[in-house]
């Protein structure tokens, strides 16, 4: 996982998968990188092949954190399979899913 700060935005890239094995690490890593200047988190899922409920739980935790700070979380370019998981769990209504 790579984290980039840019003009109040935290960009998360390089996630191969988001599951029980790495969900806590990802969640804590992003939490640690969310400084007071960060107003938004963009999570690039274009390389992510697999997301399960633990991974979704991590994303929800980050969403709640940013909501409490008045910020936002966006999910960028998920592949079809991951997008289907978002749809089946209705999380596409919670997160802004952006396809560039």
């Amino acid at each position: 996982m790579k984290l980039h700060h840019s003009q109040g935005l935290l960009l998360v890239t390089g996630l191969q998968e988001l599951n029980a094995a790495n969900a806590a690490t990802v969640r804590d890593g992003i939490r640690g990188a969310v400084t007071p200047e960060v107003t938004g988190v963009d999570i690039d899922l274009s390389k992510t092949r697999f997301v399960d409920s633990s991974g979704l739980g991590a994303l929800i935790a980050i969403h709640k954190l940013m909501l409490a700070r008045g910020g936002h979380v966006r999910v960028l370019n998920p592949i079809h399979a991951v997008e289907q998981v978002f749809e089946v769990t209705r999380l596409n209504r919670l997160f802004e899913v952006v396809k560039l």
Binding site: N19, F50, D52, S53, H80, A81, V82, E83, Q84, V85, E87, V88, T89, R90
Partner: protein
């Protein structure tokens, strides 16, 4: 009348449908396309069927047996005794010549929607709860579930409280839609469990597999509380352990 019935095994437009079993044995409005085709051919006066399904012929023949269920005599794949027979390719049903089946997933879905009412009225035990809503035998539906036609609900189905099902939905036999589940413009395959608060739109869910009808994207859902087989697996380590534990003198 003799018929040589040629069954496509894999179609390039719908490759995911033949992952679990031959294409002609995939779920289709309570039965399989092959069973519907045999009913249609029997209705047109066919007596003997030569069934050809390439390398899957023996598997397909096992599924239909000798054809007693349709009043037919089914054999195959040798067509030497079928010299003047009519040749029928199962890319549409004999009952609906103008409706293709396998061109794409959305065409396959549209075919089911087109034939839903006609086949529901022919199915024994299926009743119309309200216009366009057809329900099979031994199915339980919570009183506050919201059903909108056109909708096919098969036999032995459970639909939980405040679930939203329809319009344009087929729920195949032995499926379980849990509380608050929402299914719109989709097909739920036989023996499928859809968990609480899950939402299926423009999808075909069968066991843990979820296919998007427009993009053709197929994903396997690993969380069983979202989507899984409704039927307990035949082999389970937990069950095996329980059986052994009963026999062993462990306190």
């Amino acid at each position: 009348m003799n018929v040589i019935l040629q069954c496509p095994v894999v179609e390039t437009g719908v490759p995911a449908l033949s992952r679990k079993r031959p294409l002609v044995l995939s779920p289709f409005l309570g039965q399989t396309p092959l069973a519907h085709a045999l009913s249609g051919l029997s209705g047109e006066g066919a007596k003997r069927i030569c069934l050809q399904a390439g390398e899957k012929t023996s598997e397909v023949l096992r599924a239909v047996g000798a054809g007693e269920a349709w009043g037919l005599k089914i054999s195959g794949p040798d067509e030497r005794d079928f010299g003047d027979a009519r040749r029928f390719v199962l890319d549409h049903l004999p009952q609906a010549p103008g409706i293709p089946l396998w061109t794409s997933y959305s065409v396959w879905f549209d075919a089911q929607m087109e034939l839903l009412e006609r086949l529901a009225r022919q199915r024994v035990g299926m009743r119309e709860l309200r216009p366009g809503v057809f329900v099979g035998l031994r199915t339980r539906i919570a009183p506050d579930a919201r059903l909108t036609g056109p909708l096919w609900i098969g036999d032995n189905v459970f639909i939980g409280p405040t679930a939203v099902v329809g319009p344009h939905v087929v729920v195949e036999d032995d499926s379980y839609l849990d509380d608050d589940c929402e299914v719109v413009e989709s097909i739920v395959g036989p023996g499928t469990y859809a968990g609480s608060f899950t939402e299926l739109r423009r999808s075909f869910a069968w066991g843990r597999e979820l296919l998007h009808l427009d993009t053709g994207s197929l994903t396997v859902v690993h969380d069983r509380f979202l989507l899984s087989d409704a039927v307990a697996p035949k082999f389970s380590l937990t069950r095996l352990w329980k059986q052994w534990r009963q026999r062993l003198p462990i306190p």
